[in-house]
């Protein structure tokens, strides 16, 4: 590994840039609090907290999947994925802040006495149980994310077979827990915004979105770090496989999106259709932009092998998908809380602020240890990785 940059140095000017991004977020928040209604501000906070929490969570899932699948190609940039997963504890801080705004976000917290449908769901949808559930999920997620990161770091100094086996056990447990917990998370924080509405597919639809988002973010980060002069050993073969991830999971996302939409459209039951009627009539541009950004563009661009092997094109698609997933999250949250709203500078400014925190955390955790897990058993396989003809 001689002559390769294995240590990330977090420059002062990068730190200043991220702090400037955070400042934009803080200023937007102050202006937002002064200009907009409480409901609007809390919705925007929920949107961005959930958005970046799920990216970090998706990265943790990816770390776990890579460990239990015993695959080797991704080892060279594994530390980027781990660094993204390290945002999880910080994102939970914002989720804890949201507990103070539950009344502004969720109608079920205060409509029990006027609304018979909500009253019937009160056994599940009540504030103490909600907070208990959420805290349980957050704690378990953070424990697993930190544990997987810890095993990887420890193998840099004292590699052992025992460590490898232990990380496999943790990863397997996390994958199972993640699959179940993400559905509960989707019910609690996203579906219960419209407490009258229900969809059994919703949890998996959110899960698909999380995976697409994490792949997009990892591709963007890899491109940024390569631009800064790191990860020069990540070849176009690795990019090709990451692009495949993005391509296949954007199809998976649209598959679930459409399954949910078509079943509701076909059954035509008023209890279910109001969800989509609200979105199509009040947010027509975003509704169709969502499908365009998350499915049509990645599908049509990345279907060709040549574009999957062109770094800038893959990055452009990843950025489009990232924006598309933000819109998707927007459509899950805003139409339920405020009947008609538009994306304003406040939303965008707040998102930029969150992106600043996100990048700051990632860059700090990247600079903490080596950029390559140098004792990973599959490192050589990953360095000489070639995708075959497909």
């Amino acid at each position: 590994m001689d002559g390769i940059n294995t240590r990330f140095i977090f420059l002062k000017k990068q730190r200043r840039l991220f702090i400037a991004l955070i400042a934009i977020g803080v200023i937007s928040l102050i202006i937002g609090v002064l200009l907009y209604s409480k409901k609007y501000v809390w919705s925007a906070l929920l949107l961005n907290s959930v958005n970046y929490l799920t990216i970090a969570l998706g990265a943790t899932f990816l770390v776990a999947v890579h460990i239990i699948s015993r695959s080797g190609w991704h080892v060279v940039f594994e530390r980027i994925i781990q660094a993204v997963s390290m945002y999880l504890p910080f994102s939970v801080v914002f989720m804890l802040i949201l507990f103070f705004g539950l009344n502004n976000i969720f109608e079920w917290t205060h409509e029990i006495h006027h609304d018979p449908v909500v009253a019937k769901k009160a056994a599940y949808l009540n504030v103490p149980f909600f907070i208990l559930r959420s805290i349980f999920l957050f704690v378990v997620w953070i424990v697993f994310a930190l544990a997987l990161r810890h095993f990887s770091r420890k193998s840099d100094f004292t590699p052992s077979k025992k460590l490898l086996i232990r990380s496999r056990v943790y990863a397997a447990l996390f994958v199972v827990f993640f699959a179940l917990s993400i559905v509960v998370f989707a019910w609690d924080w996203l579906m219960s915004i419209e407490a009258h509405w229900f969809s059994t597919l919703f949890g998996w639809y959110v899960l698909a979105g999380i995976l697409v988002k994490s792949f997009a973010v990892i591709i963007i980060l890899l491109a940024i770090l390569r631009y800064l002069g790191y990860f020069e050993f990540v070849s176009i073969e690795h990019i090709h496989d990451l692009a495949r991830y993005l391509f296949s999971f954007s199809i998976f996302w649209v598959y679930l999106w459409f399954s949910q939409f078509m079943l509701i459209w076909y059954a035509n039951i008023p209890e279910e259709t109001f969800y989509f009627i609200n979105r199509i009539e009040n947010y027509p541009i975003l509704f169709f932009l969502n499908i365009g950004c998350n499915f049509l563009i990645p599908f049509l661009v990345l279907i060709a092998r040549k574009s999957r092997r062109t770094l800038w094109l893959v990055v452009v698609v990843a950025i489009i998908v990232f924006i598309g997933q933000w819109i998707d999250q927007y459509l899950m949250i805003f139409p339920g809380i405020i009947k008609t709203a538009n994306i304003t500078w406040f939303d965008i400014g707040l998102s930029i602020g969150f992106a600043g925190i996100f990048l700051l955390v990632i860059f700090v955790s990247l600079s903490r240890f080596e950029l390559i897990p140098k004792n990973h058993p599959y490192l050589q396989e990953s360095l000489h990785f070639e995708t075959n003809h497909t």
Partner: protein, 171 residues
């Protein structure tokens, strides 16, 4: 047609042999092996398979035909009122369109593959040597347009790269 056959017993020797021949701009007609040899397609400088293109064209065709057929059936040929939905109910056409895409693409690539590689029922492929299906690797070179001296040279080259035996066949 006159052909030179080089027999190898080791995978590594075969790869070396193919590389030397390709480097000296001698056209390798074909290579037979009992199992797929990794890196052989690169050594032979074979072009990438065009099967994905077939899949894309027929997939697109399947999507188009599947969609148009449903549109024709439900608006022109036999319109039925299903639950008060419009006759041109696009969301309910999508699953069938999707299935047609897959069906067309899948069948097309299987047929294109069989046709292009002369396989399938009724195919009559010459087996150069029974051993090529067991434990030998065979390089086939077409030397019809070469004189005796040139084919002699090729024979020595094959031997030099580790060929166990070299045969010349007249067809």
């Amino acid at each position: 047609m006159r052909e030179v056959l080089g027999y190898y017993t080791k995978e590594t020797d075969l790869l070396e042999g193919v590389k030397t021949l390709v480097n000296e701009k001698i056209t390798v007609k074909d290579v037979f092996s009992p199992y797929p040899v990794h890196g052989l397609d690169k050594a032979m400088k074979l072009k990438r398979s065009r099967l994905p293109r077939v899949a894309f064209i027929f997939g697109a065709l399947g999507a188009l035909l599947g969609f148009l057929f449903q549109a024709w059936v439900f608006t022109k040929s036999y319109p039925i009122n299903i639950g008060g939905k419009p006759f041109m109910a696009i969301p309910s056409f999508i699953p069938v369109t999707f299935e047609c895409t897959i069906l067309f693409a899948a069948i097309a690539i299987v047929l294109a593959y069989l046709l292009k590689s002369h396989l399938g029922a009724g195919a009559d492929n010459k087996i150069y040597d029974q051993r090529a299906t067991d434990d030998h690797f065979v390089i086939v070179l077409d030397v019809s347009d070469k004189n005796n001296k040139e084919s002699e040279e090729i024979t020595t080259k094959l031997k030099a790269t580790g060929a166990k035996s070299v045969e010349t066949k007249l067809l």
